[in-house]
Amino acid sequence: MARVIVVTSGKGGVGKTTSSAAIGLGLALKGNKVVLIDFDIGLRNLDLIMGCERRVVYDFVNVINGEATLNQALIKDKRVSSLSILPASQTRDKDALNKENVGKVLEDLGKIYDFIVCDSPAGIEAGAMMALYYADEAIVTTNPEVSSVRDSDRILGMLASRSRRAELGLEPIKEHLLLTRYSPKRVEEGEMLSVEDVEDILSIPLLGVIPESQAVLKASNAGEPVILDTMSDAGKAYQDVVDRLLGETIDFRFLVAEKKGIFSRMFGG
């Protein structure tokens, strides 16, 4: 049975799409059949981060409305054949998705794929609720910053009350904390919430810490998910996330700032 994973956050701009792309591609590189779904109806962007924006013909809403089959709408990734992308529609028809028709699409996809990764829109409106409704697991993407942490907590409340698992009284959604844009140096200087602080407040298990990295912008510029940049800290950290999702136990990296030499400490710089 497919694992349905929602990448969610509440707050916008914290790295949901970047994370969805990196994790989806990483899972596929490990030999899993993966489909990435963009739930951000009206603001399609996953295609751009994945670098397949020019190959979009049909989208999620076309499939829902019966204007295209799933096979017509799914875009096969050029780098990894076991990865497909289902793009969001660019029209503003937000009411196109409902529990019934989304459930049907996920059911069909679940017959083919091992992982269904749902990239949620920001906010707590219908679109975000739709993205999390069928989830088995949730990757709660959070920046070490007050508004992001607060919004993540609200999303945790939604996961516990508004999902299918909650409504049917099934085992709750498995929650994972993904801390992004982490800067160990600023944490050490007391300017940024630490991993432990955020874990304390949200009290959900930590899946990964992605350090603030220039590689992320470069990756989105190029349409190559950052996990492919195997030399970068962010790429390595996402690789660890993927391995943990697949059941491996891996120590957390990039949690401490690189130590400055004694000379630069004494003379500034």
């Binding site: 007050v146 942490v149 607060r150 200087e189 007391g190 940024m192 004494m266 500034g268 710089g269």
Partner: protein, 92 residues
Amino acid sequence: MALLDYFTRKKEKQVTTASKAKERLQIIVAHERNSRNKQPDYLPQLTQDILQVLRKYIKVSDESFSINLDKKEGDLNVLELNIELHDENNSN
């Protein structure tokens, strides 16, 4: 100067902005979780429905009516209604 900074730094940083952030978050998150747990989704609608039924028989203003769902120890939930009745408003 960097050398001086290095020795004086420790003292200044006793109350960091990060620790302020954590403290504020702990308070607001606890508060919001509380209200989330106490207020089920159906409560606003239930309140409206009860008011509607009551108003068929007696005059009740919004201020003289309160509803509260409290979680007590264990599995016990208490739904508490508080209605102020005014003599002159009674319809009998």
